[in-house]
Every structure is written in structure tokens, then in C-alpha cells.
Symmetry: C2
Subunit: 239 residues, 2 copies
């Protein structure tokens, strides 16, 4: 089966069920396309956790439909009040130059929370898999993007749920974990992902135009360049 | 130091910081009292996840103040829309007779979600411990109340956070895990917990009066009887 054919797989009501964490960004859109191509019946889950870049959630809704998720749910989590991240706390500025170590855009325990919510959703819809777009290459400063974190969550899930207790442990699928941004973009493009519909920028404007200078924009732009593909992102003019 | 003296320990600004998950029920109130008696500076965390028994949250606020938490935060999580539990889904009745296996009052992945949120809070306030009132004796039907689940979460936390990466793994303290309800009540009473302020019932009325017949009420009533202590719970009249 060619990659292009894979992208046209339709929803199989009898296919294995998977919960796919969908942020509206480039990575999670690619994960959804890969899960659909692998014949999964995909229950897309987005979390409205007070992120500044709320147009991501609108992007997630569009992507879920275009890529054939069987449903898309948004859980609202009033997480911003904990503070501690430039992505939820207006008092912390999004940096426009790269830093070292763990970036201020790190959201405390975000992937642990996302996977926990996905685990609850998986229990309700009886899914045996959670698919998540974590990536250890670009986000080496984030502890919860590493393979050992994903493996530890899978061990936790086996002990945490009805299914696990009954001998059907849940699998956490992280297909992007060791791919470069260019490789991710190539895979998604081959599967027909329209990256113009995705939002990566940490500080987009009201029209969802990207700033072009934050870490996420830089990674994305460099990724398209390295993949040898045209960057479909709409960038806004800078002062 | 006697137990009665321990209960009067005041907040030490320099004491070790702990996040204490506080539902407003009997168990978590006891956990907070134990953590305070052990000299912890307690950051109480409640989660408004759409539970039917919302007067629990009001109880949590009162208990946090009375037992000397240094702060109390409530995170709102729109979790009920996932469905799947009698505690959040109005379409599922709370049973008034005991069942077998995992009860319908089980909330999907609840303790995984609670611990994940507590982990985020612990990162923000730089706490090295999360205290949680899970109990494997009374809640043997809940997979996420077992010691192996708690241990797995601790392993996950060591990999998930800045502190873990920097060599300061977080500890999950579950002091009630192998205690009977009577033992929990005896410990809390010795520490001065006013159980009249706590709400255990799965289906209290608007005045926070307990039904007296759900699993939670039955466990609580039997616990006071077995402890040889007066039950301060206000029960409503039954038809």
C-alpha cells in the first residue's frame, strides 16, 4: 500500500479504537494521519487548558474532521491558575530567542495531565491505545517528552484501569518520538496532511498568523526547509 | 509528642512543602491532619470535576482552613462530559445496595488525573511530596487505589518533571493505604479532625445531609461503630 493510498482509508467501525491527543499543531496532526492510515478508529481529544494560543483548538477541530476522526472532544481544564508557564501565565513573556535547559514555555506536568485525561477517555470508549505526538528530538528540554516517560506512563496505565486489571493493558503509541521535524513533515505530507490548517506558534495573532520567531516557529520553519517542502504557514509582518 | 499536641502544630514557613489532595471527605481530611502533624507546609488541592456531591468542595474549603493548610486551590476540570461514572453522569444511578467488582461509582482514571494535576501544582510551588488518601482496604474494587498504582505514579513522576530530572524525585505519600476505616477515624480523631465538617456520601441532599445507604455512607457509618466513636454525620430521613 502506498503512503498516498493509506491517507484515504475510511473509518472502519470495527477497527481498533485509539484515543489521539490532538493539539492543533503540526505534530499531533501527523500522529492522527498516521493512526488513521494504520486503520485505527480515532477518538480525538483536545484539552483547553488556558493556553494562550487558543486558535490551536479551532485548528484541532478542523483537523479532526479533515483527517477522519470518528469524534473529537474538548475537555476544559482550568489549569492556568496554577501558573508557572509562559504558555498559560500572562505574566511570563514568550521568549523570541532560544534559551538553554528547560524553557519557560514548559507547562508543569502537561503531558502527564494530557495522558491521564486520555486514559480516562480511553476507558470510556474502550480504546486500547493512546497516540501522542511527543518528540524527544526537538523538545529535549522537556522531561515529559522522553521515551522513558512514555514507557513509565504505559506501566502506570496497566495498573490504573479496569482494562489493565482485567488483563488488557493500554498501549501508549508515540510514533514521532525519535523523528526530526523534517521527517515528521515528510511523513505527514505523504499522508495528505494540510499543514496550512495547523498552528504551531506559541504567540499567534487573532487571525492565527504565526510570529515566526518563537522556538516553535523556528523549529517548524527549519523543518520545512530541511524536508525540501514549501512552508504553508502564514506569518505576520514584524515591526 | 502526643497525638493531641501534634494537631496544634502551626504552619512553619520553612517546613517541607507538600501538596495534599483534599476532596472534602473523611479520608483526605485525615491525610491533611496527618501531614500537618508531621510538620508539612500543606498546599491543599481540590478538583471540581463535575462530581454530583458538590458540597464536598465546600467542605474541602472549610477543612483546609481549620486544619491549617497554607493555601487551598480548586482546579476546574470539565470531566463529566466523558461520562462513564455514576458520580459525574446523571444518566447512571448511584446504587443503594453493594455490588461486586468495580463499582459504577468508579470515575475513569480519576486518581491518575488527580495525581497528574497535583504533580503540576507540586512543580509550581516546589513541593517534594504529594499526599493522597487512597485506601486499598475499603476500595478494593478500584484499581487506582492500590499500592502498586501509587508506586507506579511515583516512578512516573521521577521521569516527568524538572525536579526529577535534576535529581529530586517527588514522593507520593499514601498514609491510609492499608488502614481500615475505623483506624483512619481513630487517627484523625486523635489529631482533632472534626468529621462533622466532612462529606462522604455519594448522593447528599442540598443541605449536605447524607443518604445513609450508599457504599460510602455504609463504610463511614460502620467505621465509626468499629472505632467505638460517635458518628457525627447528619443523615436525612428516608422515605
Amino acid at each position: 500500500m502506498s503512503a498516498a493510498t493509506e491517507a484515504t482509508v475510511t473509518n472502519d467501525p470495527a477497527g481498533p479504537r485509539a484515543v489521539v491527543l490532538l493539539s492543533g499543531g503540526l505534530d499531533s496532526a501527523t500522529v492522527l494521519a498516521m493512526a488513521r492510515a494504520a486503520g485505527r478508529r480515532c477518538h480525538a481529544l483536545s484539552v483547553d487548558y488556558g493556553q494562550r494560543h487558543r486558535c490551536e483548538l479551532e485548528a484541532a477541530a478542523r483537523i479532526a474532521v479533515r483527517l477522519g476522526a470518528c469524534e473529537h472532544r474538548v475537555i476544559t481544564l482550568d489549569y492556568g491558575q496554577l501558573g508557572g508557564s509562559a504558555l498559560t501565565d500572562p505574566a511570563i513573556a514568550v521568549p523570541d530567542t532560544p534559551g538553554t535547559g528547560i524553557p519557560v514555555t514548559y507547562v508543569p506536568a502537561r503531558n502527564t495531565v494530557m495522558l491521564a485525561l486520555a486514559l480516562g477517555y480511553a476507558e470510556v470508549v474502550d480504546a486500547a491505545e493512546i497516540h501522542i505526538g511527543v518528540n524527544a528530538v526537538d523538545y529535549s528540554g522537556y522531561p515529559d517528552c522522553r521515551p522513558e516517560f512514555v514507557a513509565a506512563f504505559e506501566r502506570l496505565a496497566a495498573l490504573a484501569t479496569r482494562a489493565g486489571v482485567e488483563g488488557h493493558p493500554l498501549h501508549v503509541v508515540a510514533p514521532l518520538i525519535d523523528l526530526s521535524k523534517a521527517e515528521i513533515i515528510r511523513r505527514g505530507s505523504a499522508l495528505g496532511v494540510d499543514y496550512a490548517a495547523t498552528v504551531s506558534c506559541y504567540a499567534p495573532d487573532d487571525a492565527a498568523r504565526a510570529c515566526g520567531v518563537c522556538d516553535a516557529c523556528r523549529l517548524r520553519r527549519d523543518g520545512f526547509a530541511a524536508a525540501g517542502l514549501a512552508d504553508p504557514t502564514t506569518y505576520r509582518a514584524r515591526d
